[in-house]
Symmetry: C2
Subunit: 159 residues, 2 copies
DNA sequence: TTGTGTGCAAAAGCTTTGCATGTTG
DNA sequence: CAACATGCAAAGCTTTTGCACACAA
């Protein structure tokens, strides 16, 4: 087992523990489906939609329904283990949230590529605007759209 | 006619002229529906969805179809006269874009209130990240989410 | 045992499309 | 008058819901 694979296994154990605490404290049931979906998400590295997750689990012959996928995604978003995005399309996109520093996205409208970046100025803006507008700012979403200059092959499913 | 009303009428004339040029240069037809929808949008001050625009036009006994509303919205977005947003919900929201300085949004997840703000640091981030990631950044979307501290009545249609 | 969670399918909500008709250029 | 835009309704897609059954506590 490579070092990074081992790191992933460790993270999966950690998030399962966090998830367990959340389920316990909210008096929710620990079903195998919930843990399997959580694990499935943490083995992915992309920004997927609910259907892709469902299809992938079905392809592995795991018996799960769309309803459970959607319910569990919402549950995971509510305990901050998963982040939900709207990259300008109707379909919501998700990604794992634990063990990854907060980041934003830059999206190629031509080929659909999604890269991540980090900028401390966002935090400053959140603090300042929260104070100015009298808001308790809890989270944010910053997406930059444009065209990338390398390896850009147009996709039908553009953004 | 008040001064601000007069200013609005002037803006409406301006955007119609811009729209006309766009239609001409793209060899598209100048239909009354297109102009009426444009005017309707510029008389609004909110962040509306396609259905609300359609309903409002119907309520004024204007004969228009959803298809035309959606088609025209897309057309107006493509010529930068209208901006399209996804405020964390599935339904797309729109607002007029001409004559208003570029701004971002702060959204109350409790009552649905949407306020606008401006911060020059966003432009800096766009420039820096575009260069760093080798992207031609054309536009962006920054939404801050949280709860507002005044006049906050929970809405069923939350964000 | 008790009630929450699940699977399945149907329904709901937003958006797009096909087709016949109308209208712009 | 020829092509394109429109209205209407139906279809498409993503997401939610209702109901009977399963299973965690």
């Amino acid at each position: 087992m490579s070092q990074s694979t081992e790191a992933l296994e460790n993270i999966i154990e950690e998030v399962k523990t966090i998830f367990s605490s959340h389920l316990e404290s909210h008096k929710l049931r620990k079903t195998p489906e919930r843990y399997t979906i959580l694990e499935e998400i943490y083995r992915r590295t992309d920004h997927f939609d609910a259907e892709a997750l469902y299809i992938h689990m079905k392809a592995q012959n795991y018996r799960v329904s769309r309803a459970t996928v959607y319910n569990t995604l919402e549950l995971l978003v509510s305990c901050d283990l998963v982040t939900k995005h709207q990259f300008g399309k109707n379909t919501a996109r998700y990604e794992k949230a634990y063990g990854y520093r907060q980041h934003d996205h830059i999206i190629c409208v031509n080929c659909g590529k999604v890269l991540e970046f980090c900028d401390p100025r966002i935090q400053q803006i959140k603090n300042m605007m929260g104070e100015l507008m009298e808001f308790n700012v809890t989270h944010h979403s910053l997406n930059l759209y444009g065209t990338c200059k390398s390896d850009c092959k147009p996709k039908s499913d553009e953004y």
